[in-house]
Symmetry: C2
Subunit: 336 residues, 2 copies
DNA sequence: GTGAAAGCGCTAACAC
DNA sequence: GTGTTAGCGCTTTCAC
């Protein structure tokens, strides 16, 4: 198929510019010690030939791949369904597009986790980004001793001195959202907590508990769910079936809130009159549901950018913070 | 930073297995003419050394990159905000994870479109995937003559003999959704159309028009929007401000519907009593809004898989269909 | 500041 | 069937 014209090589550029290949290479790599005239000549030749360096050759010779892997858990359905991740990836991709690095999506096979590990350690990428998801990110924590790795979201379990994390303060965020419900006169505050094998799930439950116990309210109105909408709906069904009374809900994610909200309405309950809702994530649902949701906004895109930046700097050997906490913001809407 | 132990080379494997490098290469690449014993010995050595082939070297020598680029328009915000794309990407990534290909996210800079084009033509990828988005995908149509390219969604403008497309029948989908409204007794059917520089926007408006004129109803109740929620809200505000009366809405996307639905409610209109809504996309909002939306579901993940498969087969030189139409499905919910 | 030469790790003829 | 020999296109010492 499609026989493209052979891409021009560095050699062709050198010939056209009347210099050696080394010089062209220096110009391409912005080496400081090249005469301005030469730079101009080489750039003209590059322009004229439409030269693009061959990544493979460059990578082979320089022993750097200029490639960063974004590791995605095998359960891609959940991953991609969550607008949070899309937004973070956007930030990552945008930041990397300002650098020479390329972003590769790597799906981690759960059937053969070694495959992923080997690929990453096999020298095919310069670093990896892990968007924390499952309990099973321990293997990735180990990975960090063999390869620059940055985590988006704190991984569960022991972290070592090579663990770099960009996260939000989930505990504080949850506490703030819950406190908001309390401040608005609610006294029986339920929560649908996220998975307790993910730090975001754990921390958000903690935050809720802090606020609730701090106000001497009942701390037992808990149902668990994954971060999905259907999980939230099922959890709310259980909550209602249990007969426990509540006048507010802190949902650990907007997707959970969306499922729960639908179930509340199905049962003839009004939001916010009967049940006020606060949650985390300012996604398209939180903004457009009926009523729109009071929520804690995470700077998702910026977070993605920060994750990528941290990794790039780490690869470059710069000193970077082991933990970066991104700010969050409360957004008041009609669900409370 | 992080000095990983030097990755074992093919040479090391050859030495350990007591064969030549070519033989190891043959085993790694599953060449047919190798003795079983030798294969076993080589595999044992590979296992023992934890050998992973170096992609750069392999690519340089074989002149194939085993990399596929997913081109993303610079306006990443809109791109990533749309659950449709996340879902398609998921399908792409999942399919590719079953192959040797790697998926690279490439952000097309609008400021310097040449950069993207050069990168793609520079021999750094074996093929490209374009998720149709902007009017400006004409340059990508040209690209297809230099590189295997598959479009997810029909690009606007002239397509050539090297244009491969995986799409749904947007006209039929829109017509079906609109007809559903008509069949349910609605007679004044408005539409918020998508961008008219995207084939999905154009075709969906066409489909609406077909159904409406087919039933001899008024075909002038049109507002235009991008595919976003805020665009849908603004369009609905204009629609209401214009004073035109309507009892149903066909929204060209679920995001548009979400924005429009909020505005309708703000104006005290009830859905479906005052205005019935049908749309396209079965995303998290369509499923969880109040009321849930009657919609046309596209097989997004499967579509992503099909796009990737088409490209891989195209690269392999196989004969593939120039146009693949994926089936859609009407989902009846409470918004009508 | 610039060029010459070696080699990154692999594949692909070509011989045997 | 397997080994030998050349490179793939670039970076990188090392001289000059």
């Amino acid at each position: 198929m499609s026989t493209s014209p052979p891409a021009p090589t560095l050699e062709a550029v050198a010939a056209l510019a009347g210099v050696s290949r080394s010089t062209v290479s220096r110009v391409v790599n912005a080496s400081p010690r090249v005469t301005p005239d030469v730079i101009a000549a080489v750039n003209a030749a590059i322009e004229q030939l439409n030269y693009v360096p061959n990544r493979a050759a460059r990578s082979l010779a320089s022993r750097r791949t200029l490639t960063i892997a974004l590791v995605i858990p095998e359960n891609t359905a959940k991953f991609f369904a969550d607008p949070y991740f899309a937004s973070v990836i956007q930030g990552v991709a945008m930041y990397l597009s300002t650098t020479d690095y390329t972003l590769t999506l790597l799906i981690a096979s759960e059937a053969d986790p070694e495959k992923t590990r080997r690929y990453l350690q096999g020298g095919n990428v310069d670093g990896a980004l892990i968007l924390s998801h499952h309990s099973d990110d321990r293997s990735y924590v180990q990975l960090a001793s063999a390869l620059p790795v940055v985590f988006g979201g704190r991984p569960t379990g022991q972290t070592g001195s090579t663990t770099y994390i960009v996260d939000v303060d989930n505990t504080a965020a949850a506490e703030r959202a819950t406190q908001y419900l309390i401040d608005h006169g609610r006294t029986r505050i339920a929560t649908i907590a996220g998975p307790q094998d993910m730090s975001a799930g754990i921390d958000r439950l903690d935050g809720w508990r802090k606020a609730v116990t701090g106000a001497s309210l009942e701390a037992g109105l808990i149902e668990y769910s994954d971060f999905s909408s259907s999980g939230g709906a099922a959890a709310m069904e259980r909550m209602l079936a249990s007969g426990r009374k509540f006048d507010a809900l802190f949902a650990a994610s907007a997707q959970i809130a969306s499922g729960a909200l639908g179930v509340l309405k199905d049962h003839g309950l009004s939001v916010p009159r009967d049940v006020a809702i606060a949650t985390i994530d300012n996604d398209y649902y939180a903004q457009n549901s009926t009523p729109p949701l009071t929520t804690i906004e995470q700077p998702t895109t910026e977070q993605g950018g920060k994750i990528a930046e941290t990794l790039v700097r780490l690869i470059a050997g710069e000193e970077v913070d082991r933990l970066t906490i991104m700010p969050t913001r409360l957004i008041e809407r009609e669900s409370v």
